[in-house]
């Protein structure tokens, strides 16, 4: 066996193993830093308007339709949640903080019970300016919602610019929401 061949036979598998290890390391590091979620899906709604819908209000609040989202005076969030959802409970303080900071948030209660929802709002505060109920979950399917909570960022022209599946945390707000607000305000 020539020395070159011997070196290749040893070196190529070693290089492949190193490259594979490096790739796994990068993926795990990014997952750890909340910078990469392998379960996250890109939303087909990005760059489009929400599909046609009209949902009634719940818990004494006014509901809304897709036409109400056509041209908001400033960028806003639509937050899908439910009183039975644990991550929704976790993100409640963040939504309260954002609402207190002047951000418009409209909520859609996903397959929720009016009484349980009223109790949830009483205990965790109500960050929503409007609150609609999707009792059947049909509108959620039309939006491509696959779990709660999900948050949609809608710009002043009524176009969906961002969808986040999961609870909003300080990290998510700093990494995604604040730059979007700076860009579209």
């Amino acid at each position: 066996m020539s020395p070159l061949r011997r070196r290749l036979l040893f070196g190529i598998p070693l290089a492949l193993a190193v490259a594979g290890g490096e790739a796994f390391y990068v993926i795990l590091r990014r997952m750890q830093a909340n910078n990469y979620d392998p379960h996250a899906l890109p939303s087909p709604l990005l760059g489009k308007r929400p599909p046609s819908f009209s949902l009634p209000g719940i818990a004494g609040m006014q509901g809304f339709a897709n036409t109400d989202l056509a041209a908001p005076p400033k960028p806003m969030l639509v937050n899908w949640f439910a009183s039975w959802c644990v991550p929704c409970l976790q993100e409640a303080p963040m939504l309260a903080k954002l609402a207190a900071g002047g951000l418009t948030i409209w909520g859609i209660a996903y397959e929720d019970d009016p009484q349980a929802l009223a109790q949830f709002l009483q205990q965790n505060g109500n960050p929503y300016q409007r609150l609609a109920a999707d009792a059947s979950g049909t509108t959620a399917i039309n939006w491509g919602v696959y779990g709660v909570p999900e948050t949609y960022f809608i710009d002043k022209t009524g176009i969906v610019r961002w969808r986040y599946a999961g609870a909003l945390t300080d990290d998510v707000v700093a990494r995604y929401l604040n730059p979007l607000l700076a860009k579209y305000s």
Binding site: R5, L41, P42, S43, P44, G137, I141, N142, W143, G144
Partner: protein, 147 residues
């Protein structure tokens, strides 16, 4: 006698009724259920992500199964039902990804692997060492001496 005759005319209806199945809130013929299952088998459950919506116990999967069955009963072609899902959830909902620029590398992989293997084999064959040169007179003499 008349009554019996009347009951006899009802028999085919009974056979037809037995052929009906109800699943996820939709009543349809067994053939329609089979068609709906064939569609659902190709769609990913968004909640569990590694199951088809036919296999999944998630509530969303049950709702999507219901929608597929309603559309099958209405006579919507399978292609349109798949488009309905892709429009809402993106191509990730398809368990078999379509051929697109994003998936070219994926689909080219078997051919690439075969080509790479063929090249390695060709190189190995070409590099096979030439047979050693015949022994010279001196070498043969030395060999005889040793043996």
């Amino acid at each position: 006698m008349r009554r019996w005759l009347f009951l006899l005319t009802l028999l085919p209806a009974l056979a037809l009724a037995q052929d009906m199945v109800t699943r996820d809130g939709v009543t349809m013929t067994a053939a329609q259920e089979a068609q709906a299952e064939a569609i659902g088998d190709q769609l990913r459950c968004l909640v569990c992500q590694n199951e088809s919506i036919e296999d999944s116990d998630a509530k969303l999967a049950a709702q999507l199964r219901g929608i597929i069955r309603q559309q099958v009963v209405q006579g919507v072609p399978p292609r349109r039902i798949m488009d309905y899902m892709v429009q809402r959830y993106g191509i990730f909902v398809l368990l078999k990804p379509p051929v697109s620029p994003l998936t070219w590398l994926l689909y080219a992989m078997p051919a690439l692997a075969l080509a790479l293997g063929g090249m390695a084999w060709l190189f190995a064959a070409r590099r096979k060492a030439a047979p050693p040169a015949p022994l010279s007179e001196a070498e043969r003499a030395r060999l005889d001496e040793l043996l």
